[in-house]
């Protein structure tokens, strides 16, 4: 009886000890944010859809004369070359050369140089923040791990934003007519910005009335493993189907 009691006490004690230990361990882990791009790295985005007339209606005729959308048109590409990345206690600073949207394959001389400053701690942004400095209303670069950073931003950003970092780090933005200032935007818009695991904007879609795509920008980079995996999958699937059909034909039909 005493032995049994001791055994029970030991099990319960061990369980409580386990729970307490992990409760303490949990405080040790904290997210350390970083920057996912490297010095001298080139990033190219391509514009798949650009409805210029509708953009004129929504943002006025000057929307493509400055900022990240300068000269944006369908089929054009934009390039960044990362010059430096710097981290201090408060900011990530990324300096880069930029070649604005152009239909030509030759990049030539850069159009401008610019820099991005991002708070190391997403909590340092002011409450109800929105990306007003970006014409795109969504940044092209975020710190990594991007899902966690977006998660941190989700409690800071104003109610236009909805962060979904369950599957792909995604920033959904819905801006109603006249919300930024009267006449801007001139219609309700929705944006879906998806980031890759390096914090680089991978896909940017701006939707207008009835969810029509007005702008579609995508990072012009396909990881090397995508096509071989897809081909492998198609081959395996085809062999599986063929095998099934052959087996089905060779087996007598049972009632």
């Amino acid at each position: 009886m005493t032995n049994r009691l001791k055994k029970k006490e030991f099990i319960i004690g061990s369980l409580l000890f386990f729970i307490l230990i992990i409760g303490n361990i949990s405080n040790v882990f904290a997210v350390n944010y970083g920057i996912g791009v490297d010095q001298n790295e080139g990033l190219v985005w391509k514009c798949n859809v650009c409805n210029n007339a509708e953009m004129d209606n929504i943002f006025g005729s000057e929307w493509d004369s400055s900022g990240i959308f300068t000269n944006l048109s369908k089929g054009a590409s934009m390039k960044w070359k990362i010059n430096s990345t710097e981290i201090n206690s408060y900011f990530f600073r990324v300096e880069y050369d930029i070649w604005y949207w152009d239909l030509s394959d030759e990049w030539g001389i850069k159009d401008n140089s610019s820099q991005i400053n991002i708070f190391v701690d997403p909590g340092n942004y002011s409450t109800n923040y929105f990306f007003v400095d970006y014409t795109s209303l969504a940044p092209f670069l975020l710190p990594i791990p991007v899902g966690e950073y977006l998660g941190g931003l989700s409690v800071i950003l104003n109610d236009w934003h909805d962060v979904d970092n369950r599957v792909l780090p995604t920033l959904n933005v819905e801006v109603l007519k006249d919300k930024i200032y009267p006449g801007y935007p001139n219609k309700n818009i929705k944006i879906i910005a998806i980031y890759n695991d390096r914090g680089i904007l991978k896909s940017y879609k701006l939707y207008g009335k009835e969810n029509t795509v007005i702008i579609d920008i995508a990072l012009n980079f396909l990881p090397i493993y995508v096509i071989p995996t897809l081909v492998g999958l198609v081959v395996v699937f085809s062999i599986g189907v063929a095998f099934y059909i052959i087996k089905k034909k060779s087996t007598p039909h049972s009632p």
Binding site: V155, D162, I192, Y207
Partner: protein, 420 residues
């Protein structure tokens, strides 16, 4: 022999079987793996975080229960579900997660017991007399990979599965009207916690078309009791909606204004495959219309087939299987861990069908895919989504299951089904 010694003898008998030992070891591994992954990677990115906050907000700031700024991801369930999470909210978050998952382990033991009891109750006569094969399938359930994500995310699917199985057991075991009420109330409670079982409601109606007499048979009293039982717990939420009007507004806004375009994910529902297709090709879409369309088509087919079924006593099993399959095929977000609601029902069907029925092949292949391969395709989706963002393999096997259930209900060759 008292209960304790009976229990020990039973456990010893089970432990003597190699597959049972493997199942216990593998399931324990899933549990400990989830704890490690939680503390290393998922502490700030899991579903339990929402449930934990919900319990606290329900206690302290109930009017803001649907203020989504309080949560990492949207809270969409009925307000009464929050009561369920209050005990966990009292603990610290990390301890609550571990305790919650310990409960999940205990629930899986209970699910296995109730699953065993249902199988023994509905097992077709030409199956083996001993329970060796039953134990193998229980072990398949316990070893299923969907448990990994269920534990890691701190999800509540095991709770739902238990409620569904208990109500199924009651519906099958007891024909008295009071038990029909009890079974449906239990189902109603599961809908409060998480509305997965909401598409099971139409299949509670005892409505059948008699093809020989060419008339509809409708058991009004039992159907009414069942509907009342399942809807009553859900209606209790309206007391809260009445007391706190912002709750009603928040609930509606969160659940019924989702017509915005949505980004890609690996959900295997038909609705999501269509949404992903529209997203990829820049086709304008309204996800709410897509959802309604898919529910109308898949749900409509399922319900019509159910009405046209050959007479059978255990048709409720197939109704439940239809209801969950329709939910998984239609709702936007159908993840790997949601399959834990379906696999036990598929196992029951395997035993309710004749031992060597042709249909079992389809059910078996779906069960094996859901238990051991679906998770792999989630991983593959991450690799290929830039070019091909469709996790269609799960959809394919859900459709295979759907077709198999249809065959079970309408096939003339299955004479094992007893009359109503």
């Amino acid at each position: 022999m008292n209960i304790r010694s009976r229990f020990l003898t039973r456990v010893k008998h089970l432990w003597d079987q190699k597959i049972f030992r493997y199942a216990i070891i593998i399931h324990s591994f899933y549990f400990f793996l989830s704890i490690i992954l939680f503390f290393l990677f998922y502490k700030e990115k899991n579903d339990f975080l929402i449930f934990y906050q919900v319990g606290d907000i329900f206690l302290n700031d109930i009017e803001n229960l649907y203020n989504q700024a309080n949560y990492l991801w949207d809270f969409r369930y009925f307000p009464l579900s929050a009561i369920f999470f209050i005990p966990f909210s009292i603990l610290s978050f990390e301890i609550a997660f571990v305790v919650f998952n310990i409960f999940n382990v205990l629930l899986n033991i209970l699910i296995s017991i109730i699953l065993y009891k249902v199988i023994i109750l509905v097992r077709f006569k030409d199956h083996e007399d001993d329970d060796r094969r039953v134990i193998i399938y229980l072990c398949i359930y316990l070893m299923g990979l969907p448990h990994v994500l269920n534990y890691v995310y701190g999800q509540i699917n095991s709770y739902i599965t238990l409620f569904i199985l208990v109500s199924l057991y009651i519906f099958i075991k007891y024909e008295e009207i009071k038990w029909q009420l009890v079974g449906s109330v239990i189902l109603g409670i599961s809908i409060i916690i998480k509305p997965t079982a909401i598409f099971l409601i139409p299949f509670l109606i005892i409505l059948k078309y008699d093809r020989e007499k060419r008339k509809l048979n409708f058991n009004f009293s039992t159907s009414a009791v069942r509907l009342m039982g399942v809807i009553l717990p859900v209606l209790l939420n309206f007391i809260l909606f009445f007391m706190y009007p912002p709750l009603w507004q928040g609930f509606l806004e969160t659940n019924f204004t989702g017509n915005n375009p949505a980004a890609l994910n690996f959900s295997f529902s038909i609705s999501k495959l269509i949404i992903n297709f529209c997203y990829l090709l820049n086709i304008p879409f309204n996800q709410l219309y897509i959802l309604i369309g898919v529910i109308f088509i898949i749900g409509g087919i399922g319900f019509i087939v159910f009405i046209l079924r050959k007479t059978n006593k255990n048709s409720i099993i197939y109704g439940f299987a239809f209801g969950i399959t329709i939910m998984l095929l239609a709702y936007y977000d159908s993840w790997d861990h949601h399959l834990l609601n379906l696999t036990p029902i598929l196992i029951i069907i395997l035993f309710n069908l004749p031992r060597y029925s042709v249909i079992t092949k389809s059910i078996k292949s779906s069960l094996i895919f859901f238990s051991f391969f679906d998770l792999a395709f989630v991983g593959i989706w991450y690799v290929i989504y830039p070019l091909f963002p469709f996790n269609f393999e799960g959809t394919f096997f859900l459709l295979v299951s759907f077709y198999a259930i249809y065959k079970c209900l309408v096939n003339n060759n299955i004479h094992h089904l007893k009359g109503d």
